[in-house]
């Protein structure tokens, strides 16, 4: 038992070191401009100010709304595409599915910058730049291949017996998909939806290439605009960063096991 206390102490120390940048982000977000360039910097918000957060409320609220909209839109689109595909791959198993799985695996490896360039060419031609739905489509390309593969492995774990039982009761393929397999694969839907949201929420590359002139810009561009200012106001930048981190933190608290499952499933199994 004494040994385990020693481990806890080391563990807390390691975690503190690892999370120091996160702490610093919060600290700076509360530091007033007058103390910002002080050397050495304050280790604690000695004279905390909420100016940065006031500016976020003032200037960044629309960006926040756009990010939420894009995130949710990406989740819906991703699941709508991935769920039927995963059902077919896991349960109907048609011939030639192996090549499709391979294509999905390779699709995840294409660098974002190449996709951004190609999508930009396409979006310009079809007048899709600077639209929210265009950004949703672009962001979904990050999530869809991953979601199909993860969901396929989750749905494969649904026992074939309950699928067969439903068939014997006269359910067609669509009914089996909707009323039997999907509810049983709920955890997979949560995991892939969660990652789709986080990736869309965090996306900067597609936003800056495809939506930089739009009326509705996501939060990542809001932060980037602050950084781009010659007069960089770090307390406002860090306050926005803290706010932008909220969804990740909430999801980690509420859905930690899904997050861990998603990371591992993507790497170790199909």
């Amino acid at each position: 038992m004494t040994r385990s206390w020693w481990r806890t102490a080391v563990g807390v120390l390691l975690t503190a070191v690892m999370l120091f940048p996160v702490y610093w982000m919060v600290n700076v977000s509360l530091t007033p401009a007058s103390r910002m360039r002080k050397s050495p910097p304050d280790l604690f918000p000695v004279d905390p100010t909420f100016e940065g957060y006031a500016r976020v409320l003032d200037e960044q609220l629309p960006y926040f709304g756009t990010s939420l909209l894009v995130g949710l839109g990406t989740v819906v689109l991703t699941l709508a595409l991935a769920a039927p595909a995963a059902y077919a791959l896991a349960k109907l198993r048609p011939r030639g599915r192996g090549s499709l799985m391979f294509v999905l695996l390779v699709a995840q490896m294409i660098p974002g910058i190449v996709m951004a360039l190609g999508l930009y060419g396409m979006f310009v031609r079809f007048g899709m730049t600077n639209t929210v739905w265009g950004l949703v489509l672009a962001d979904s390309t990050i999530a869809v291949p991953f979601a199909v593969l993860i969901l396929t492995s989750f749905l494969s774990a649904v026992p074939d017996e309950i699928v067969q039982a439903a068939r014997i009761d006269g359910a067609g393929p669509f009914r089996v998909f909707w009323s039997v397999v999907l509810p049983a694969g709920r955890n997979g839907l949560v995991t892939s939806g969660l990652f789709a949201f986080l990736w869309a929420w965090s996306d900067f590359l597609f936003a800056t290439t495809l939506d930089s002139g739009g009326a509705l810009k996501p939060l990542t561009l809001g932060i980037y605009r602050y950084i781009g200012n010659n007069n960089q106001e770090w307390n406002a930048i860090m306050a926005t960063a803290v706010v932008a981190s909220v969804p990740a933190t909430v999801l980690l608290v509420l859905a930690q096991r899904f997050v861990a499952a998603g990371i591992t499933a993507g790497a170790v199994k199909d």
């Binding site: 039927p84 396409m122 390309t141 965090s202 932060i223 930690q256 170790v268």
Partner: protein, 292 residues
């Protein structure tokens, strides 16, 4: 037969999607790279075909060598440290102790944060005058470093930030790999009188080889693609000292008032080729792991 038909009916949306939003953009990028596009012809079409000229332009550009070398350095150094630290943490957390699950969950935070958040936080941590890193260095009596504004340090800085972001991924995957090793294996080696280092070196580590390979290769594919962190922290600068193929491709296509889509696409396609080679090695390794 009917089963196949119904199966592909359910797959038809994803196939249509992949054709429209993967195949078409990729073909567009190839097309961009073999034509001489201007802003005008980009919108209206009709750019003249120039074959491999964009590629030759790019290869002849001195930035190409820098970007390629930086990409290799950034990737290799990131992987070595992410994996090394991630493995050490995974071993540390593989023993249960009070709070271990909570602390392990907290370790995930850097991986979950939007990259622009992590990158801007690191930019401020590494700020020359007001950054806390230099403050600590001065406190212990070392001169501060111009982390982001000196060509000697910019690549180091973005690599440090990227290592920080990658540790959680390595930790989680290696941790799950460690849990899959049966406890009897450790007990057996302990009975044989092995100390914990010997047991790790000769028993755990070899058993973790398959998981390690997959982790490293997936990390390789991820790291080759990294754009956000570098662009936000240094924009590939100063004077190209932290440019990688990904940021250079972006800079050529979107970074200036006058976009050069052809060369940008050519650099992007070179990057794709490198990523695909890494990716195919990964797929093979994963198949082998599943077979065993």
């Amino acid at each position: 037969m009917r089963k196949n038909l119904v199966g592909w009916a359910f797959l038809s949306p994803i196939v249509a999607y992949l054709l429209l939003f993967y195949a078409y953009p990729l073909v567009t990028t190839v097309d961009l790279s073999i034509r001489d596009y201007t802003v005008r012809s980009f919108v209206r079409g009709g750019a003249p075909l120039t074959g491999f000229e964009n590629y030759l332009t790019v290869f002849a550009d001195p930035t190409f060598r820098t970007a390629l070398l930086n990409t290799v350095l950034f990737t290799v150094v990131s992987l070595v440290f992410q994996y090394g630290i991630g493995l050490a943490m995974a071993v540390f957390f593989s023993r249960h102790f009070r709070l271990s699950a909570t602390l392990r969950a907290l370790f995930l935070v850097p991986w979950l944060l939007p990259l622009i958040v992590s990158a801007s936080t690191w930019a401020w941590l590494l700020n020359s005058e007001a950054g806390v890193v230099n403050a600590v260095l001065r406190f212990v009596g070392v001169d501060g470093v111009h982390w982001l504004t000196s060509p000697d340090w910019s690549l180091v800085s973005v690599t440090i930030a990227n290592i920080w972001i990658g540790i959680p991924f390595n930790l989680v995957v290696l941790y799950s790999g460690l849990r899959d090793i049966p406890a009897e294996v450790h007990e057996a080696s302990a009975l044989d009188g092995a100390n914990s280092w010997q047991s790790f070196r000769h028993v755990t580590f070899p058993l973790l080889r398959a998981v390690s390979t997959v982790t490293l290769l997936l990390g390789l594919v991820y790291t080759l693609k990294v754009f956000d962190i570098i662009w936000i922290m240094t924009r590939g600068g100063p004077s190209g000292s932290s440019t990688t193929l990904a940021t250079w491709s972006y800079e050529l296509g979107f970074g200036n008032a006058l976009p050069r889509f052809g060369p940008s696409a050519a650099v992007g396609n070179v990057l794709i080729l490198i990523a695909l080679v890494a990716g195919l090695v990964y797929v093979r390794a994963q198949r082998k792991q599943e077979a065993s």
